[in-house]
């Protein structure tokens, strides 16, 4: 069975990939960055502002797939500066609430131009 494409509302459509795809009960979500519906980066240079947008986009992708933040089982945060960790963490904790998916935080050399962070997740549809 090929699941229907996941089309999140109000977020940009990448030209070369989908935001998320199901593999059985697992949902692989592409790294989310702080782009608006037109693909324009919001809050350049502002990690907190970007983090809000990143998690807003992530919420839209998950909702389009019919799952919630509670269904996320793996989170990777990519930063370009460890000093942004506090802003990224604050938004992550707000987004997930009492849910505590395993988290990996990496500082890498660069993301897209002016992009301060990117967040990639895996979610699982509970069928048991």
């Amino acid at each position: 069975m090929t699941p229907s494409p996941i089309r999140p509302e109000g977020i940009y459509a990448p030209a070369s990939y989908q935001h998320a795809v199901w593999a059985g009960d697992a949902l692989y979500v592409a790294g989310q960055v702080a782009r608006d519906a037109h693909g324009v980066l919001v809050a350049p240079g502002d990690a907190a502002g970007q983090a809000r947008k990143v998690y807003g986009n992530l919420g839209a992708v998950l909702a389009a797939a019919g799952v919630t933040p509670q269904d996320v089982v793996k989170v990777v945060t990519y930063l370009v500066d460890r000093a942004d960790a506090a802003a990224a963490d604050a938004e992550r904790l707000r987004f997930f609430g009492d849910h505590r998916p395993p988290h990996t935080e990496l500082v890498i050399e660069a993301l897209g131009p002016d992009v301060r962070l990117e967040v990639e997740v895996v979610a699982v549809r509970d069928t048991r």
């Binding site: 395993p102 500082v107 699982v124 509970d126």
Partner: protein, 133 residues
């Protein structure tokens, strides 16, 4: 929001609880393990600047998390090692091979600019699979 029933968050006894993250989580038969670094039970870094010492601690932590989840190294199906620049890869790989023995899970090694934990020379993230039912 519903609480997924098959999900089990793993917080091994005696291990530091990271902020907003379980050390691992079962979802069905798959165990997702957060990146482990060379921290002790209080969250303090072990083996500053010493890759071999950190390797023992990191892989010890991976093993503790797996054991707390009722799994073992033989159940690991994917390994990612994140090295910081200049970290001595040989000592780290040697410890990985010691932990896994004859088991040879697919491994990806990356050099990143830095890790979330200051002073950590490397981190290891694994995914395990074990039929639990």
């Amino acid at each position: 929001m519903h609480e997924p029933r098959s999900f089990v968050a793993i917080y091994p006894e005696g291990m530091h609880r990271p902020r907003g993250s379980a050390h691992a989580m079962w979802a069905g038969d798959t165990l997702y393990v957060a990146a482990q670094v060379a921290t002790d039970g209080a969250g303090a870094l072990v083996g500053a600047g010493d890759a071999a010492a950190q390797a023992k601690q990191v892989w010890g932590n991976v093993s503790r998390v797996l054991a707390a989840a009722g799994a073992g190294p033989e159940d690991v199906v994917k390994v990612t090692t994140y090295l910081t620049p200049g970290a001595e890869g040989a000592a780290i790989a040697a410890e990985r091979l010691r932990v896994f023995g004859d088991h040879r899970p697919p491994h990806t090694g990356l050099v990143v600019a830095a890790l979330g934990s200051p002073g950590a020379l490397f981190a290891v993230e694994v995914i395990a699979h074990r039929v639990r039912s």
